[in-house]
């Protein structure tokens, strides 16, 4: 087949026009729409898939139980390409559809930061999973967090390591991205309160191919415990393996990424015996167990926090809309903020004035590749 230039330009023109035609043809339906921004491509595309699964099973439950305001709920998703501009475009594309009543935002803090101005303009509730404590303190009334923020994860890691494990000399390893930096800072701040000290604080850039220098520095520092904030599981896997190869065996308490299914698959035995804080732990509550059952049925992978927070977000959001009795954004907002004692897969949601729903973490242990629930640490403030 030979393609002529003219033929090619005609095809190009047709290709350019087609999506618009398709969009017209698809038409409207009488469902209640929730928009969702998720990474379907780019480095975080796998977590996007889990998030979608979690949201979908929650949706199915809600719809089976009669929907919201006697309407079925529908999820409209847009890909954020794991980039900030991508997230802004994805969100504004959803926000431009007036029949969407609320949104599920991103699990990545920087993306929520990037979307925040548009969220403020749209003035509709956005449930998100990013854990940078700042996000709910921006003065943006439309942001609701469905995971415990990093000030809690830092406190829980510090509390567990310094009190339960009684280790006082800490090595902190964190990614230099927004998540890792704020997490590392939160952990450093909390350690002081427990009388422990940081002997080495080591940032690393994402997608590092080698951690030898980091591991050797930890080895030399004389740290007797490691606290970590890893963003991507492949970095975590490489680090874990080199840590063991170079003979570092001190206890390790990691941020939630250490407990995810992907991390456990990639790092294998290198993570045995480590501790992690997890907003989601299967054994932590009957609700968490129920979620695990539903999740395994829907997907071939193990349930983890990427799915559980969207599952809870849909659950809380739908309950709040039902309670509000209207899709008016202000009424939904009030209803979410009034949510107390909602038992979700991640824990009990008690929203505070800032829009933070969770105030504690689970500590889990990696026992030969199985995630074992250890205890839940909850804070009142």
């Amino acid at each position: 087949m030979t393609i002529t230039r003219r033929g090619f330009s005609a095809a190009l023109a047709a290709g350019v026009a087609m999506p618009a035609v398709l969009r017209e043809a698809l038409g409207q339906s009488n469902t209640l729409k929730v928009g969702m921004v998720l990474p379907a491509s780019g480095p975080a595309a796998d977590s996007g898939k889990y998030a979608l699964t979690g949201a979908k099973i929650a949706l199915e439950r809600v719809n089976k139980a009669g929907g919201v305001l006697s309407r079925q709920v529908e999820l409209i998703t847009e890909d954020d390409q794991t980039t900030n501009p991508g997230a802004v475009l994805a969100f504004s594309k959803l926000a431009a559809q007036p029949d969407i009543v609320a949104f599920i935002g991103s699990i990545r803090s920087t993306q929520n930061h990037a979307m925040a101005p548009d969220i403020l303009k749209t003035a509709k509730p956005v449930c998100f999973g990013g854990t940078d404590p700042q996000l709910t303190k921006l003065g943006n009334p439309w942001l609701f967090r469905f995971r415990p923020n990093d000030s809690y994860s830092g406190r829980v890691i510090a509390a567990y390591g310094a009190e339960t494990l009684a280790k006082k000399n800490w090595a902190i390893v964190h990614s230099t991205d927004a998540f890792g930096t704020s997490g590392g800072k939160a952990l450093t701040d909390s350690l002081g309160k427990f009388g422990a000290k940081v002997v080495i604080d080591q940032g690393y850039p994402n997608q590092s191919q080698d951690f030898t220098a980091v591991v050797l520095a930890i080895k030399q520092s004389g740290a007797d415990v490691i606290g970590s904030y890893f963003t991507f599981e492949n970095d975590l896997g490489i680090f874990a393996r080199q840590l063991r190869q170079l003979g570092v065996t001190v206890p390790w308490v990691g941020s939630p990424s250490i407990t995810t299914a992907t991390a456990i698959k990639l790092a294998g035995p290198a993570l045995y015996g480590t501790f992690g804080v997890a907003d989601y732990a299967e054994e932590s509550s009957p609700e968490a167990k129920e979620f695990a059952g539903l999740y395994r049925k829907a997907a071939s992978t193990e349930p983890d926090n990427f799915g559980s927070w969207t599952y809870d977000a849909i659950g809380v959001l739908c309950a709040a809309i039902n309670k509000a009795g209207s899709t008016d954004p202000n009424k939904i907002r009030d209803a979410i903020l009034a949510t107390k004692g909602y038992k979700g897969a991640e824990g009990e949601y008690n929203f505070d004035q800032y829009g933070d729903g969770l105030h504690g973490y689970n500590i889990v242990r990696n026992e030969k590749g199985k995630v074992i629930f250890d205890k839940h640490i909850e804070f009142d403030d």
Binding site: P19, S41, A45, P117, T176, G203, P205
Partner: protein
């Protein structure tokens, strides 16, 4: 056509006048566009897309200058974009400065960074420039991420200020579109300036540009700096538009996106930049309906990029422009007074004095201690068998090679250590054995570059482009190609291209004209015409130093001949005497004698 309009009397060139309505139309259309975006009801999505397209386009303009006009690659445009964006972000948020001041600071910072980068590396060119810009890009990204105290690190800078006048997104977008229109006009206009013409010449042929008197290095640095400046300006506009910036928006991947935008739309024109930018933002958006399979739409996007590069080599706008060009008749050529040559006459009788000149390549002595002098007026020939060092001598005289030993004096000035463009400034003109013209230009544009030589006393300082064009046209008329002045180079025969090259040198009004085998590849009638042309040039008092193999031409035209063999001078003197010299006959005819 409007060529007959009274404005003609003001000596506006016909070409320029034909463009004038287009300029007015441009501003009318831009004003309409600004009005449209400020009045229409736009939802947030459309607003964001337009905002991104408008601000990115400014950065892509930068690439259309550095890549399209000057032919140099820049893979760090996102870094310059980021510098501008961070200046506005950090300035308005951390230092409480006004938006406008920040915008200026960011633009200047990007300009300085670009100029510095260009000055250190532009002597390398090509792939090396690609590498060094990639490195710069990576380092800027790392600093943005890691210098947390200064840049806020990976968190980025939220709540960036906008000017008081444009607080709402829609009014800011209108401002961005207006800025885009004005910047676009300047970029469009750039190619009509001296600098713009120099950039095009450098892109088309660096060597020819340098012997036409253009400072190639400085031109490249200027193009690179302008590109960086536009990147910074676009970034500043972007930061105000989205009110949030973070390092991952200015990564290497984004630089690639900018480059693809530029090439996709066509680098030759700012319109192409806008088209490319718009399309590259829109294509992934249109393909979102394929989102059920992650990655599929980006895969299609990848193929689309390949196909467009394959089937639309000049980009989309280039494709459209080529198509439209078929319907545009060439602009008729005005009549001009005949060409005047008035070579500089300061100094002794000898216009060129070459003493002890040597050029060694490693152990090879291509030119070995030759002496000769060219008498003012008339034609002097430099001949010799193949490999005798003639062209090397010419290259040393015109500065393309640096002399190993010896000196070259033109008129009163010693030019031995000058760079080629400064020799041209001093009054040297030359042509090449293998024709070196600016192939993307018309015959007239080629010759205008020559006329623009610094030190050309026949162009009045106040004459502007019209004077240059008049002189160029006269030079083309002189070589007999006046009526075809506005045709692109590619339409001329080989012989005519030679004449254009000579016209380019003549338009500069040189003191000495070096012709490197002008008769090579010409048929006999063309050779006769060339002979006649050389006589007419000499008749106006311009001295010619001629290299050629054609003995009929040499013996007929030259009064004085210098003969080289194996890099050494074997004979020098009045034509007929030299040609009868036994060594010369032996060198030429070898064993057959």
């Amino acid at each position: 056509m409007s060529v007959e309009a009274p404005i003609r009397a003001a000596r506006r060139s016909p070409l320029r006048f034909a463009l004038a309505p287009a300029h007015i139309g441009y501003f009318v259309l831009s004003a309409l566009a600004v009005l449209l975006v400020s009045r229409a009801t736009l939802d947030g999505y459309v607003l964001n897309i337009l905002m991104q397209a408008a601000t990115y386009s400014v950065a892509v303009f930068g690439l259309s200058v550095v890549l399209g006009l000057c032919g140099q690659i820049n893979l760090a445009q996102a870094a310059f974009f980021g510098i501008g964006a961070y200046a506005v972000g950090l300035g308005t948020v951390d230092y409480g400065l006004s938006y406008w001041i920040c915008l200026v600071i960011g633009t200047i910072a990007a300009l300085l960074a670009g100029a510095f980068l260009g000055m250190t590396t532009l002597r390398l060119g090509g792939h090396y420039l690609a590498m060094v810009t990639i490195s710069f890009q990576q380092i800027v990204t790392l600093v943005m991420i890691n210098a947390v105290g200064f840049t806020h690190g990976p968190d980025g800078v939220p709540r960036i200020g906008r000017p008081a006048l444009f607080q709402t997104s829609q009014s800011y977008l209108a401002f961005a579109v207006a800025a885009l229109a004005i910047i676009g006009y300047c970029v469009w206009h750039l190619q009509d300036t001296r600098l713009g013409r120099a950039m095009r010449a450098v892109r088309d042929n660096e060597l020819a540009a340098s012997v036409a008197g253009i400072n190639v290095y400085r031109t490249k640095v200027a193009a690179f700096a302008i590109s960086a400046l536009l990147g910074g300006l676009g970034g500043g506009l972007f930061a105000g538009g989205f009110t949030y910036v973070s390092p991952d928006q200015f990564s290497f991947a984004e630089s690639i996106v900018f480059l693809t935008m530029a090439l996709l739309g066509g680098v030759a024109s700012p319109i192409g930049s806008v088209i490319g930018t718009g399309l590259l933002i829109l294509i992934p958006e249109w393909l979102r309906f394929l989102k059920s399979i992650p990655g599929l739409y980006l895969a299609i996007y990848g193929v689309a990029v390949i196909l467009i590069i394959l089937f639309m080599p000049d980009g989309i706008w280039g494709f459209i422009a080529n198509f439209m060009r078929r319907f545009i008749r060439p602009v008729p050529v005005a009549t001009v007074p005949p060409l005047v040559l008035s070579p500089d006459r300061t100094g002794s009788d000898m216009v060129l004095d070459v003493k002890g000149l040597s050029k060694h390549f490693g152990g090879l002595k291509a030119v070995d201690k030759i002496d000769f002098a060219v008498r003012r007026g008339g034609i002097h020939a430099l001949i010799g068998p193949n490999g005798s060092g003639k062209t090397t001598t010419l290259n040393v005289i015109s500065g393309l090679y640096r002399a190993t030993f010896g000196s070259v004096v033109l008129g009163e000035s010693d030019i031995t250590n000058l760079s080629p463009h400064r020799r041209t400034g001093a009054g040297l003109g030359r042509t090449f054995q293998n024709i070196r013209l600016f192939r993307s230009m018309t015959a007239l544009e080629n010759v205008v570059i020559g006329a623009e030589r610094r030190g050309n006393s026949l162009i009045p300082a106040t004459g502007g482009y019209a004077a240059l064009e008049e002189r160029a046209l006269a030079a083309l008329e002189f070589v007999g190609l006046g009526p075809r002045a506005n045709e692109p180079i590619t339409r001329f025969s080989y012989g005519h291209q030679r004449l254009i090259e000579i016209a380019r040198a003549l338009a500069a009004n040189p003191t000495l004209l070096l012709l490197d085998e002008p008769a090579a590849g010409l048929n006999s009638s063309e050779k006769r015409a060339l002979h006649d042309l050389l006589e007419r040039i000499a008749a106006q008092g311009l001295t010619i130093l001629l290299i050629d193999h054609d003995m009929t031409l040499v013996s007929g035209a030259a009064q004085h001949i210098t003969v080289l063999n194996f890099g050494k001078r074997i004979a020098d003197g009045e034509s007929l005497g030299v040609l009868r010299h036994p060594d010369v006959i032996a060198a030429y005819l070898g064993t057959e004698t």
